[in-house]
C-alpha cells in the first residue's frame, strides 16, 4: 500500500461529513498505478488550480488596486482631510483637495435609504414565498424575483433617470427628481432579490419538525412563523440583510445615473448626493494614469473593497452560525 495515498482507511466514508465525498482510493489501491490512476492524479491537480483561483483572484484584486492606489496613500493623502473634509476637488489647478467625507456619507445615506425600503418588503416576500405560497403561485413568484435580479444595473439607472425621476417630481413636488430618494428606491429594488432569495433559504433551513411540533399544539400558520420559524432563522435573515447591504453599497451605474451626483452632505432624502462608486466611474476616464487624481480614485476603490470584504465576511460568519458551525 503506497503510503502517500491518503492514509484514511475508510474507503467509502460512510461516516464522512467532508466537503467532497470520500472517494474510491481503496479501489485503485487494489489495481496499482495504472494509466487511469495517473490520469486521476493529473485531473485532481488541474481542478485544484481552479479551486485555488478564487483565492488568487481575491488577493489579486486587492494587490492590483492597492498597487495603483498606494502612492496616493503614502505620499499625497492627508487622512484628516480624506475622512473629515467634504472638499473633493481633485482637478483644482491651485490646490487639489481630496476630501471624501461627502462621498462616504452619500454612499451610506443612499444605502441606508435603500435598506429602509427594501428590508421589510424583501423579508415579507421571503416569508410569503417560503411559508404561505404554494405550488404555481410560489414558482411564479420565485421566477419573478429571479427576473428582478437579472435587470442590468444600467437599465435600472436609466429607469431612475426617466420613470422614477418623473414619478418623484409629480408625487412629492420636488424640482429635481435625481436625488438620494431616487437612488435609494432603485437600489432597494436591486438589493431585494438577493435578500429575498437568501432569506428564503434561511427559512427553508429551519427543520420541518419545528413547524410540525408547533402545529401539533394548535398554532396557526402565522403563529408558527412568528414564534418558531423566524426566531430559528434569525441569523440567516441577518446574513441576507448584510448581503443586501453589500450589494447596495457597491452598486455603481444605477447610483451614478439616479443620485444627481453633486457633492454635499445631504440633509433630506430629496437632496442630490454622490457615491464613492459613482465618483470612480465618472472621473476615472478623465484622469492620466499615475496622476494623483488617478491614484486617489484607486484609493476609493481600496476603501470599497475593504468595506465590502468585511460586510461579506460578517454575512458569511452569521449565516454559518445557523448551520451548526460548519
Amino acid at each position: 500500500m503506497p503510503p502517500e495515498m491518503d492514509g484514511n482507511s475508510s474507503t467509502y466514508g460512510l461516516e464522512g461529513k467532508g466537503a467532497a465525498l470520500r472517494g474510491p482510493e481503496g479501489a485503485s489501491r487494489r489495481y496499482g498505478r495504472d494509466w487511469a490512476w495517473w490520469q486521476d492524479k493529473l485531473v485532481a491537480s488541474v481542478v485544484f488550480v481552479g479551486g485555488v483561483s478564487a483565492i488568487v483572484f481575491v488577493l489579486g484584486i486587492f494587490a492590483f488596486v492597492t498597487r495603483e492606489g498606494l502612492g496616493f496613500i503614502l505620499h499625497t493623502m492627508d487622512v484628516r482631510e480624506f475622512f473629515g473634509s467634504i472638499a473633493w476637488r481633485p482637478t483644482s489647478l491651485i490646490r487639489p483637495t481630496y476630501g471624501a467625507l461627502a462621498l462616504i456619507v452619500g454612499t451610506a445615506f443612499v444605502t441606508g435609504l435603500a435598506m429602509v425600503f427594501s428590508v421589510p418588503f424583501s423579508l415579507g416576500a421571503a416569508i410569503f414565498i417560503g411559508e404561505f405560497a404554494k405550488g404555481r403561485v410560489r414558482e411564479t413568484l420565485k421566477i419573478l424575483v429571479e427576473l428582478l435580479a437579472a435587470v442590468p444595473s444600467v437599465v435600472w439607472g436609466f429607469i431612475g433617470m426617466t420613470v422614477m425621476n418623473e414619478f418623484l417630481i409629480r408625487t412629492f413636488g420636488v424640482p429635481v427628481g435625481l436625488n438620494a430618494m431616487n437612488a435609494g428606491l432603485i437600489l432597494g429594488l436591486m438589493a431585494a432579490p438577493i435578500m429575498t432569495t437568501i432569506a428564503e433559504d434561511a427559512l427553508k433551513a429551519v427543520p420541518d419538525g419545528y413547524r410540525e411540533a408547533a402545529e401539533a399544539m394548535g398554532a396557526t400558520r402565522w403563529q408558527v412563523v412568528w414564534r418558531v420559524v423566524l426566531p430559528a432563522a434569525k441569523n440567516g435573515l441577518l446574513g441576507a440583510v448584510l448581503l443586501g447591504v453589500g450589494r447596495a453599497f457597491g452598486e455603481t451605474m444605477a447610483v451614478l445615473m439616479a443620485s444627481g451626483h453633486s457633492i454635499h452632505l445631504p440633509t433630506s432624502p430629496f437632496d442630490s448626493v454622490r457615491a464613492l462608486t459613482a465618483t470612480i466611474a465618472a472621473e476615472l476616464g478623465e484622469t492620466a494614469v499615475g496622476s494623483d487624481h488617478y491614484r486617489a480614485l484607486f484609493t476609493l476603490g481600496i476603501l470599497l473593497f475593504v468595506v465590502t470584504f468585511f460586510i461579506n465576511l460578517a454575512a458569511d460568519l452569521v449565516v454559518r452560525g445557523v448551520r451548526g458551525g460548519r
Binding site: 467509502y12 465525498l21 472517494g23 474510491p24 479501489a27 487511469a36 490512476w37 490520469q39 486521476d40 485531473v43 481542478v47 485544484f48 481552479g50 479551486g51 478564487a54 483565492i55 483572484f57 489579486g60 492590483f64 488596486v65 498597487r67 495603483e68 418588503f121 415579507g124 416576500a125 410569503f128 404561505f132 413568484l141 421566477i143 427576473l147 437579472a150 442590468p152 444595473s153 444600467v154 437599465v155 429607469i159 426617466t162 420613470v163 429594488l189 431585494a192 396557526t220 400558520r221 402565522w222 453589500g246 450589494r247 457597491g250 452598486e251 455603481t252 451605474m253 470612480i280 466611474a281 476615472l284 476616464g285 480614485l297 470599497l304 473593497f305 465590502t308 470584504f309 461579506n312 465576511l313
Partner: protein, 289 residues
C-alpha cells in the same frame, strides 16, 4: 363537533390579514419588473426596426442604428464565457468531488463569497490595473472579457457545484465499486448527469456579462467607435455602455432611442434568463431520481 371559539375566529382573522399583507409586499416587490418591461416596450418600440439593429450609428449617435454595440456585446460575452467556464467548472469539480473538509477548503469558499461581493467598479479598477496596464493588453476586448470573466467566476462555480452535488451519492458509489477512479466516475457518471445544470449556470453568466457596464468601462468598451471590432485586441462599443452614453452624455438623441436600446438590452438579458429557467423546469421534470 368543534365549534369555532372567539379565539379561533380571531386567529383566523389575523392569519388572513397577515397572509394578505405578505402577499401585498411580495407583489410590490415583483411588480416593478413588469412595469419596467411594459414602459420600455411602449416607449421603445417606435424606434425599433431591423435597420436600427443592423446599421451603424450616425450624426454623433443621434441617428442610425446600434450594430457596433450589439456586436461588441457579443464579442465581450463570448470572450468572458471562454475565459470563465473552464476555470469555474474546474473549481466546482474540485470543491464538489475532491476537496477535503479542512480549513483550506473553507478559505476557498470564503474567497468565492467575497469575490461575488466585490463591487463591479472595483472589478473595473482591477481590470485596468492588471489586464490593461500590468499585462499590457491595452483597452481591448481581451482585457474587458477577462475582467467580466473574473467577475462572473463565482456565478459559474456556485451554479456548477450545485449541479454536481445534485447527482446522488449512490451513483458515484456504484461507479467506484466497479473499480473506477474518481476522475473516471466524474467523466462517465457525474458530468453527464449534471450537464443541463451546468449549462443553466453558463447561460446565467452570459446574461450577467451582457448587462454589466462598470467593469468594461475602462478596460475595453469605448463611448464611440466608427469601426466594428476585428479581433480581441480591438476596442469595442457595448450595449450597456451605449445605453449609459446616449442617456447621459449625448445631447439631442430622440427620446425613443435610449428606450429602444434599453429594450434590446433587457430583452437579450431576460431571454437568457428565461432560457435558463425553462431548462431548469424541463430538467426537474425529466429527473429520474
Amino acid at each position: 363537533m368543534f365549534e369555532a371559539t372567539p379565539l379561533n375566529r380571531r386567529n383566523a382573522r389575523v392569519e388572513l390579514v397577515v397572509k394578505l399583507l405578505f402577499l401585498l409586499m411580495t407583489v410590490v416587490l415583483v411588480l416593478p419588473v413588469l412595469t419596467i418591461l411594459s414602459i420600455l416596450l411602449v416607449k421603445g418600440t417606435p424606434a425599433l426596426s431591423w435597420e436600427f439593429l443592423t446599421t451603424m450609428p450616425e450624426k454623433g449617435m443621434t441617428a442610425g442604428g446600434i450594430l457596433p454595440p450589439l456586436l461588441g456585446t457579443v464579442w465581450l460575452v463570448a470572450g468572458s464565457v471562454v475565459a470563465t467556464v473552464p476555470l469555474g467548472v474546474a473549481a466546482a469539480i474540485y470543491l464538489s468531488e475532491y476537496a477535503p473538509d479542512n480549513w483550506f477548503t473553507r478559505i476557498i469558499n470564503l474567497a468565492i463569497v467575497n469575490l461575488a461581493g466585490v463591487p463591479s467598479i472595483v472589478h473595473a479598477l482591477f481590470g485596468l490595473g492588471a489586464f490593461v496596464l500590468f499585462f499590457g493588453f491595452g483597452t481591448s476586448i481581451l482585457a474587458a472579457s477577462l475582467t467580466l470573466g473574473v467577475m462572473n467566476l463565482p456565478v459559474v462555480i456556485v451554479a456548477t457545484r450545485e449541479a454536481l452535488q445534485s447527482v446522488p451519492r449512490a451513483f458515484r458509489e456504484a461507479c467506484w465499486s466497479l473499480g473506477a477512479t474518481r476522475w473516471q466516475t466524474i467523466r462517465e457518471v457525474v458530468l453527464p448527469n449534471s450537464f443541463s445544470g451546468i449549462l443553466t449556470g453558463v447561460i446565467l453568466t452570459v446574461s450577467r456579462a451582457a448587462g454589466e457596464t462598470a467593469p468594461i468601462m475602462f478596460t475595453g468598451a469605448v463611448f464611440y467607435s466608427p469601426f466594428l471590432p476585428q479581433g480581441i485586441f480591438d476596442e469595442t462599443m457595448a450595449m450597456a455602455l451605449h445605453l449609459f452614453v446616449i442617456a447621459t452624455q449625448v445631447p439631442g438623441v430622440p427620446e425613443a432611442v435610449p428606450f429602444a436600446v434599453a429594450l434590446v438590452l433587457i430583452t437579450m438579458v431576460l431571454a437568457m434568463n428565461a432560457l435558463a429557467i425553462a431548462l431548469r423546469v424541463h430538467l426537474r421534470g425529466k429527473k429520474k431520481w
